[in-house]
């Protein structure tokens, strides 16, 4: 499947049939228990957070959740988080730090929700605080881009020691529609924009933003999820084991440098 265009991958990543975070969680984690609420305002259904066991080890899971149908999507706002989603993620990340368990994030969002109430409740502040908190949280963090990584809303949960991307996932500074609309004042040229944006897993691996590409089966992720699940489990097992062997300051420095090095020439 390596010869697909960026737009073809975007189409796959966004498709309704594609595996969503809630489908993936039971494959990866046993005894998953979801926890609700940010303790400040409400419970954002676009961010599913909780506690589970990865091969016998307790981990905190923070997943951006898109729906598989309209009803689910109305409940989870099509995977677009409000500030309370980011604040729930921060609350659970601090809890993970307290009990010294690693954090696994799953990223699948078109972006943070651009709404009136989201602005009133401080979308920008919530994302900024998330970026800052994850930079120094004292447990290993692994981020996995399942399908769509849109803008700052995805980045807020990507400050990790290791980032994986599924083969057909995409990650970009803004949507191709937004890109085309700014560049050519024409949203319908999104397909053209996509090819310029360097947003595929292969592009981002070349730029050292991501560490691993998780291959998808030729017949598609949803037809044969185990093909990818096995690789994800191997990757998490290896990386967690290595990160847990590091001294705390070395582990934190590794995460810090991963981002510090990006675009560091003057």
């Amino acid at each position: 499947m390596k010869n697909l265009s960026a737009w073809e991958r975007i189409t796959i990543a966004r498709s309704q049939n594609r595996l969503k975070a809630l489908d993936l969680i039971p494959y990866l984690f046993d005894h998953f228990v979801e926890f609700h609420g940010d303790r400040l305002y409400g419970d954002d259904r676009a961010l599913v957070g909780g506690l589970g066991s990865f091969e016998g080890q307790a981990v905190t899971v923070l997943a951006q959740s898109k729906g598989r149908n309209l009803e689910e999507n109305l409940s989870c706002n099509f995977g677009m988080l409000h500030p309370e989603g980011y604040r729930k993620a921060m609350r659970l990340a601090k809890q993970a730090e307290k009990f010294n368990r690693p954090i696994i994030t799953i990223i699948d969002t078109a972006g943070a929700y651009p709404g009136k109430e989201a602005e009133e409740r401080g979308q920008a502040e919530a994302i900024a605080q998330c970026l800052r908190l994850f930079a120094q949280i004292k447990v290993p963090v692994i981020a996995m881009v399942l399908s769509e990584g849109g803008s700052g809303g995805a980045l807020a949960l990507s400050v990790a020691n290791k980032i994986y991307m599924l083969e057909n996932a995409v990650y970009s500074i803004l949507s191709p529609e937004g890109f085309a609309s700014i560049l050519w004042k024409d949203e319908t040229r999104a397909k053209e924009a996509a090819e310029l944006m360097e947003c595929t897993a292969f592009d981002l691996h070349a730029k050292a933003f991501i560490d691993r590409i998780i291959e998808e089966a030729d017949q598609g992720l949803e037809a044969n999820p185990l093909h990818s699940i096995v690789q994800i489990k191997d990757a998490i097992r290896q990386d967690l084991s290595a990160l847990k062997k590091m001294k705390l300051n070395v582990m934190l420095e590794q995460r810090y440098q991963k981002f510090r090095k990006m675009g560091s020439q003057l």
């Binding site: 651009p114 009136k116 009133e120 900024a128 980045l155």
Partner: protein, 292 residues
């Protein structure tokens, strides 16, 4: 808008300001010594010299005209105390995105800047500070790798030398032409600020018009003290995007500095004319021995 510039240059810069920030209005510039500028908010005619003396604030309606980075330094910091660093850093080699190099060249010519942020050290009432000032005339103050790197390095300098850090933000967000490496500057600058924070550094963030997108969702919102200029536009998503999503018109004051303050995201709105005094007061209150 320095009045010592030759007439044609002044007019050029005024026109640029108008196209970037103002409603489209013809600026009346007579050929005599008397130069008149129009307030884009209340349409009052203001004589240039007077406007400069008022620090580019309309006396009638309090509209804060946009300032260039160097005008802000002149307005708020001790005379001749600013030492700029990384002034030559530019983004020419960073992306082969179509037309990007041409755009950079155009903005360099128009602004006399190499990038959308100016960083360095300065003094204010003799107190040394580390300073970053964004300039929205340069490609809407967008943050690419150089902007992110300059800001990160000035945070690191403030951390090393134990200087208070002051950042003036003015930005439309991350710079799309540099793709993901622009976006990650949000994480890089926030991580550097977290280290500065853990080492007890003082960071004052000053939000000016406009502060949106990836800049508002990173270092702009992470100040120990967050100050805004009156009526500055501050937000995450653009107004048009929100209106399109919700299919409704937003109130006029939506995402204004005053709105943000009412919602609890800004400590104080400070008139440009009072900012220097305000900063001196805050810095004194953070020194080990308070002598206000």
């Amino acid at each position: 808008m320095n009045v010592n510039l030759p007439f044609h240059k002044r007019k050029e810069r005024l026109n640029l300001f108008q196209t970037l920030f103002g409603k489209k209005k013809n600026i009346k510039v007579s050929s005599s010594e008397m130069n008149i500028e129009m307030c884009p908010h209340c349409s009052t005619a203001i004589e240039s010299q007077a406007l400069k003396a008022q620090q580019y604030v309309c006396a009638q309606c309090n509209h804060h005209f946009p300032l260039s980075a160097y005008e802000r330094i002149d307005a708020h910091f001790d005379a001749d105390s600013f030492i700029e660093i990384y002034a030559k850093a530019n983004s020419n080699q960073l992306s082969s995105f179509p037309d990007y190099l041409n755009k950079l060249t155009k903005y360099k010519k128009q602004t006399d800047l190499n990038e959308a942020v100016v960083v360095g050290t300065a003094r204010i009432a003799n107190q040394k500070v580390a300073l970053a000032i964004m300039d929205s005339r340069f490609m809407m103050g967008s943050m690419g790798q150089i902007v992110g790197e300059k800001i990160t390095r000035i945070i690191e300098l403030a951390d090393r030398r134990k200087y208070p850090l002051i950042i003036f933000t003015a930005s439309g967000g991350a710079r799309m032409q540099e793709g993901i490496l622009s976006l990650v500057q949000m994480a890089k600058t926030s991580a550097a600020l977290e280290r500065f924070h853990q080492n007890k550094g003082l960071y004052i963030s000053i939000l000016t018009h406009p502060t949106t997108g990836g800049v508002s969702a990173s270092f702009a919102m992470l100040g120990d003290i967050i100050v805004a200029e009156p009526k500055a536009l501050i937000g995450f998503a653009g107004r048009r995007v929100i209106e399109k999503t919700l299919q409704e018109q937003l109130p006029e004051d939506f995402q204004s500095a005053e709105f943000l303050k009412a919602k609890g995201f800004v400590d104080k709105i400070v008139h440009r004319g009072s900012l220097r005094t305000f900063l001196i007061q805050i810095l004194k209150l953070h020194s080990t021995e308070v002598k206000v």
